[in-house]
Assembly symmetry: D2
Homo-oligomer: 228 residues x 4
Amino acid sequence: MQVSLINYTPNPELTIVAAARSSASQSTIEELRHKLSPRQINDLLKQLLDSGHLSPFEHASFTFSIEGISRVTSHQLVRHRLASYTQQSQRYVPLKEHHYVTPPTMSRQTDLLAKYQRAVENAHELYSQMLEAGIPAEDARYVLPQATETQLVMTMNARELLHACSLRLCLRAQWEIVELFERIKAEVERVAPRLGAELKPKCYRLGHCDEPESCGIFPTLKSKVEAK
Amino acid sequence: MQVSLINYTPNPELTIVAAARSSASQSTIEELRHKLSPRQINDLLKQLLDSGHLSPFEHASFTFSIEGISRVTSHQLVRHRLASYTQQSQRYVPLKEHHYVTPPTMSRQTDLLAKYQRAVENAHELYSQMLEAGIPAEDARYVLPQATETQLVMTMNARELLHACSLRLCLRAQWEIVELFERIKAEVERVAPRLGAELKPKCYRLGHCDEPESCGIFPTLKSKVEAK
Amino acid sequence: MQVSLINYTPNPELTIVAAARSSASQSTIEELRHKLSPRQINDLLKQLLDSGHLSPFEHASFTFSIEGISRVTSHQLVRHRLASYTQQSQRYVPLKEHHYVTPPTMSRQTDLLAKYQRAVENAHELYSQMLEAGIPAEDARYVLPQATETQLVMTMNARELLHACSLRLCLRAQWEIVELFERIKAEVERVAPRLGAELKPKCYRLGHCDEPESCGIFPTLKSKVEAK
Amino acid sequence: MQVSLINYTPNPELTIVAAARSSASQSTIEELRHKLSPRQINDLLKQLLDSGHLSPFEHASFTFSIEGISRVTSHQLVRHRLASYTQQSQRYVPLKEHHYVTPPTMSRQTDLLAKYQRAVENAHELYSQMLEAGIPAEDARYVLPQATETQLVMTMNARELLHACSLRLCLRAQWEIVELFERIKAEVERVAPRLGAELKPKCYRLGHCDEPESCGIFPTLKSKVEAK
């Protein structure tokens, strides 16, 4: 899996804070941009998050190139509707190199692992035969396993990044999408460290775990009540 | 594939027209609901469509149960972001019966078809072995072919239905999603015949084909110019 | 202010729960619709809310006719982007009757109140003069005070109703929009009592107040910490 | 009215084209970014527009500071839901300077103009008196005319800019919002001339006027048919 931030709104944190500030002030945006110190930016970001005023976070967007994720994960990812996706088409682009993802749980059972690899590779082999026999790529792909890798470009604004990370950095999410969002977080942190640090699983915001069972970071509400 | 309309805003056409009318009138909605004749509803729907005033079409929603589509098609479908989806989870629901979709282009080549069926069925067999060996369903599914059937519930409002059908009823879309939207259109026509009749490929609205090659219904702009 | 529910997805609570259930079950939606008892519907709604699985709430929509709110409030209202609005046009519909909203804080100061009424009525009078002098309605309206009443049709799904009510039923929201959402809640409760009961200010979900000062229902986090 | 582009996705046109290209190619985004010549970028932008493949335009966003528009226009503007707004609050920010917009149709009738100015200024004067008398700003504003100026920060991606301009640059839109989008277009043209040039009224895309009466650029469909 390769995730790289290929573009983003310059000065994302300043942009968010200056926009938010302008709505509660008689200063113009331009005046605010020059007045805000790094310390103030930091404090204002925190304040916005603590009070749930998230709309100013929409003014900063991040565009990622995402390669080498399975179709399992791309199908999950595009369910986040408040983002923009351009995905490599399996209809028009015949796959030449057949890369695929292997779940770690399989790697631990060598017997199954071998069968898995053979099944996936046979499917890829059959896919190529079909193309040669004149089956259109859009139909041949029905045989491709969901493990098959895909690539896409995704643009998400900071508000939706906060939301998606709150769900997908939760350890109850599937390992592959957790890894994807860990890499997304790392890329954001590189250019916007304060914002990146706020990309956290939902339990940090809730103060408790709302999943059926806790991973250990925060207790569930039920176990909190029982502990009393 | 099974598509059934399981719920919808009652009187969808009247709702759309009464809402639109209320914005350009001093009457209240209630007054309008009682004043509009079927003929007027028909004329007003046409007028809204011709003038591109599509927002009133958002006041009527349709909820479909969709079963027996491939994961190829569900992945395409959920790319329509202005709709609501609840899809059967392959993470939590271990597949018991293994149904899958076979593209018609394969059915015409009996040799390939047999190989396809064997590959898909072997993958499903390996999936079951993995579950027995303790691999979680969310990981075992990496071996499942994209042909594997899924089911979901989708709610879409009439404006987005107009838009999605304009793209997906185009014969350049993939046969499976064309069939899906033909069934969706048929279901809408059952309860809202005038609206259903307006669910058409984009060329009917454009007056020309904007695909690289025309299917024959309307010529492309390029061929129109050349014909002169 | 008049708020009436003019249309909605029939059986909204069953629809939400059946959709949610179908994603974690091998049953079809149709099977589920017949299997669910009122008690189960109740429990499942609670479970979805407690675990934050809110997407199934999108399958039920509610359409309201809203009359007699000020342009102050309609401007706030349409900021909720995940909803559909058809508003009476001040461009095309010349106002005949001039109704306006008076904030209660003014009613308590009789002197100011008289001045307010005179100013608003003079503005409306000038508006009519302008129309007579040939000024287009779309321009004459620049003189209209924000107190001027408007009417609109709004469709919102249950997920967005939960969200909008969490913000707008908070007593820190402005009195007029609080009243609007109290009436919306009452209308929903009439046809979907369990769902209606869940339309509550955000503090009920958070367990604390995230506003600068609490209205008294829940303490702020800061005062909670100080109390220890 | 002051409109300034305060931030945007760097290299917006390249970003759009590289994303689109990556979906139909085996190259990675990174490879594409270095391969595309200005000429190719130009041709690809045109091709995307002609074929209606607009989703890649979502990868480039533009953030504007907008000052000195009336509340008439801000209310229209925020109806574009696929954008982000942070507007100066009339609830929390007591207006000190009272700027307002005067429609040009009034300027031509000196008598009405004087009355208009007096009415607006009296309303602003009463607003200040109310604040002094302890009326909260959020209530005092009910007397403010819709002509009163406001300021906001808006972020819109290039796809929605294409759409909003297609509606708001139409000369049938209201003069103030036409001016607003002309300024927005000018700001985009400054940094992305090819994209900016594509921000045009809808008739350029349709090839005809779909309004009740044409402004003269393109004939209506009805008059086209009659001319034959």
